[in-house]
């Protein structure tokens, strides 16, 4: 068995279709874990939340393709 990978993408539909098991819905296609419209501090906070969400999924047991969002 391999090691767990979590994919952060703004197009979770494709990841689900292809069978990726751990998916976090990213911010936007050109900036999946960033947001240029925010000031630097807020952007770093946002990025941290994405990474914590992703690391959380890595520690979670899943049955099949699972999408986590920042709100959910």
């Amino acid at each position: 068995m391999g090691i767990p990978v979590v994919q952060i993408t703004a197009i979770p539909n494709i990841a689900q279709m292809v069978g990726v098991n751990r998916i976090v819905q990213g911010r936007a296609v050109p900036n999946p874990v960033g947001d240029p419209s925010l000031d630097e501090t807020k952007e770093k906070e946002l990025r941290r939340r994405f990474i914590l969400k992703a690391l959380g999924l890595l520690q979670q047991e899943v049955d099949g393709p699972t999408v986590a969002t920042l709100d959910g």
């Binding site: 979590v6 960033g34 952007e43 890595l58």
Partner: protein
């Protein structure tokens, strides 16, 4: 027109090469002058325009033991005759023979850049393995109809050597139609001219669907295999995490030469150095946000912070990068496997984060 006679080499197995039956399948390579067995039908079809100068023969079992190595040896034998065309078989439904024909075509094609043509039945395992590398004409599943098959193979060979373009293609290319030359499609996709416009077809087919009549979709989606989810990580504070991305982030100068579209490569880069000088090789999204702050794609700052805080054990020092814009699905799968194998080889990484555009 005073054309030089074209030179042709034919590959056959022990049976069609008239050496013997299954008992002779263990024999290695030998070469006979001129055409042998089915080669005579090929020669007839070639007429005065070309000459089969040699027939390379090999036993099916001998070849199968080391297909790649034997293909190289066989190709050397073929190359000595400086052929303009290479025919293998036809191998019909014979599995070992089909694989040998396919492997020979692949190697000769790569080495000499000449048309490489064979013929197999659709059930022959050689078809799926080698359809990309050779022109495999469609053959019945028993050894019958050799003259017609020879005619098809020769027609295709002459077409490939001509200056002709395929008029029905949008692209300027000499790529004959699979249906016209009766060969298995070679895993290529092309824009083809069509009598009906895209709009006409769309409306027509939608109407059929609305009327409950049969309609034909122009594409059928694939079915993807289920991948059993790996076990979750236990204690993050002891885990080493690696970062991977398909957003095309590369060191300045793009040393590995990732392509901005239809890319086939991946790179492994020291992440600290990368974050000192970087660029983006990906034409499928607006790059500026990432160029201004690459952490927006590869969360280096966030991971470093979490490591400092002790929440994550370690960040792996290598960042794995590829560029996923209009890329070939199968190659992407291979890239994933290759990166995965490298990660496992390094032995210290417990989990990975893949960020995508």
């Amino acid at each position: 027109m005073g054309e030089k006679k074209l030179r042709v080499v034919n590959y056959l197995n022990q049976f069609f090469g008239q050496i013997g039956g299954e008992d002779k399948a263990v024999l290695g390579f030998m070469v006979k002058d001129g055409p042998v067995g089915p080669g005579l039908a090929l020669q007839k079809a070639l007429g005065d325009r070309a000459e089969i100068v040699a027939t390379v023969i090999c036993g099916d079992d001998y070849f199968a033991e080391n297909a790649d190595g034997n293909a190289k040896e066989g190709a050397r034998l073929v190359a000595a005759y400086q052929p303009d065309i290479f025919f293998a078989g036809p191998s019909f439904a014979g599995g070992r023979y089909g694989v040998a024909c396919g492997a020979m075509c692949k190697e000769v094609g790569a080495e000499l850049g000449i048309p490489v043509i064979t013929a197999m039945n659709e059930e022959n395992p050689g078809v799926d393995l080698y359809r990309k590398y050779a022109f495999i004409c469609k053959a019945p599943n028993i050894a019958r109809g050799i003259p017609e098959l020879a005619g098809t193979m020769v027609r295709l060979a002459f077409r490939l050597l001509s200056d002709e373009r395929e008029e029905d293609l949008v692209a300027w290319e000499n790529l004959p139609k699979p249906s016209e030359y009766n060969y298995f499609s070679r895993n290529l996709l092309r824009n083809e001219l069509c009598g009906k416009s895209i709009a006409e077809r769309a409306v027509e087919k939608l109407l059929a669907k609305l009327q409950g009549k049969p309609f034909e979709s122009e594409v059928t989606p694939p079915v993807f295999e289920k991948i059993p989810p790996p076990l979750p990580l236990r204690d993050l504070s002891t885990c080493e995490i690696a970062l991977i991305s398909d957003g095309g982030l590369v060191p300045k100068g793009n040393p590995t030469g990732l392509a901005t579209r239809s890319n086939l490569k991946w790179g492994a880069y020291d992440i600290e150095e990368l974050f000192q000088a970087w660029e983006v090789a990906h034409a499928g999204y607006f790059n500026d946000h990432v160029l201004n702050r690459p952490d927006r794609l590869v969360p280096y700052d966030a991971l470093r912070e979490l490591v400092e805080e002790g929440k994550v054990g370690k960040l792996h020092g290598t960042f794995f990068s590829t560029s996923g814009n209009c890329t070939v699905t199968k190659r992407c799968g291979e890239i994933g496997e290759e990166i995965g194998a490298e990660i496992l080889r390094r032995g210290t990484i417990a989990g990975a984060i893949l960020t995508s555009t």
